[in-house]
């Protein structure tokens, strides 16, 4: 499995370093400053959108689930990093073979934090709105591909991140069910002050 993981990694990472502008575009698309911000702006749009109060409320629950999933995913990654053996980043394991076109992250390779957080945002909203969930998976897929392309993650790290995102969303959905009265009050309060 590790061998297949490395083979796929080198196949994707082998594409890097040939065309400067493609590297630049992927570097921007996969950094923490572009698509995460685009996703947050999209979530703001979803929060304020809806044909009627019921539709808008559903969207708002989706946004809350999405953000909660992302928070829980970050926490799970923190726990994973503390428990699991550190997997070296590709550029650390194969310093002479990897095309590194990004800065060197210092945290463990498995599971991918960026993939977990971005997929958690998508799967969180998917529970309430399938279309938006699929739409937000696009930035998550781009970030994930980019991380392999740039030489900072193996494909298995991304799959691990995706698994963490699904677990995080499961926990978020459960937590939202348990805290439903509190969440309903929160939404009502926000509606009273014209923020929902």
């Amino acid at each position: 499995m590790i061998h297949a993981d490395q083979t796929v990694f080198f196949w994707i990472n082998g594409l890097a370093g040939h065309v400067a502008w493609i590297d630049d575009v992927i570097r921007i698309l996969s950094c923490d400053l572009f698509l995460p911000v685009v996703t947050i702006i999209a979530l703001i749009a979803v929060w304020f959108s809806g044909r009627n109060t019921a539709g808008r409320t559903r969207n708002q629950y989706g946004v809350m689930c999405s953000l909660a999933s992302m928070g829980i995913a970050n926490l799970l990654i923190f726990i994973c990093n503390a428990i699991l053996n550190d997997r070296l980043r590709p550029f650390e394991a194969f310093p002479d073979k990897v095309h590194l076109i990004f800065y060197q992250p210092s945290d463990p390779s498995f599971p991918s934090n960026a993939a977990a957080a971005s997929f958690a945002l998508a799967t969180g909203i998917w529970v309430y709105n399938r279309k938006l969930g699929y739409l937000l998976s696009i930035p998550a897929l781009i970030i994930s591909f980019g991380r392999i392309y740039m030489g900072v993650h193996y494909p298995l790290d991304i799959i691990g991140g995706f698994a963490v995102a699904i677990v995080a969303t499961g926990i978020a959905v459960l937590a939202m069910k348990l805290c439903r009265p509190i969440i309903e009050r929160l939404v009502k309060l926000m509606r009273k002050v014209y923020l929902a």
């Binding site: 921007i28 923490d32 702006i41 800065y103 926000m190 014209y194």
Partner: protein, 142 residues
């Protein structure tokens, strides 16, 4: 974090970038859902144009014309989330404040006031300032 990306100048640029993008998105939302109270323009078309130009323009500025170098480490997750949240709140305050000033002459008729508008629906007829003042004048209940 070190150098430029760890500096306050970078934090300021990041906050400007996120805030302007959110302000742009709020104008598109205002145009799409006819929330006149938070729109900067009466004409919906201008709302779409302003929003799109603000979002695209600020992305081009941030990634093309600041000292950002993506080969250097950037924010850790906690400070990034903090500044992201600060920027979003700032953008909402600017949107609500500026639109309340621009639309201060927006006068909801008595008929409209009696409608069953709820939450942000109220912003179709009132500015945020008008709406929130009414909320506080009634002691927090509508």
């Amino acid at each position: 974090m070190n150098g430029y990306v760890g500096s306050w100048a970078f934090v300021a640029e990041y906050c400007i970038y996120v805030s302007i993008a959110v302000i742009g998105m709020m104008q598109i939302i205002a145009a799409k859902w006819e929330l006149r109270g938070i729109a900067f323009f009466r004409n919906k078309k201008w709302g779409y144009v302003f929003g799109s130009v603000a979002i695209v323009g600020v992305f081009i500025w941030f990634f093309g014309f600041t000292g950002l170098n993506l080969k250097e480490p950037i924010f850790d997750t906690p400070p990034q989330l903090l500044w992201l949240a600060v920027s979003v709140v700032l953008a909402l305050l600017v949107t609500f404040g500026l639109s309340s000033i621009i639309n201060r002459r927006l006068t909801p008729g008595a008929e409209r006031d009696k409608t069953q508008a709820d939450g942000i629906e109220v912003l179709k007829q009132k500015t945020y300032w008008q709406a929130i003042s009414r909320f506080f004048n009634k002691g927090g209940s509508r």
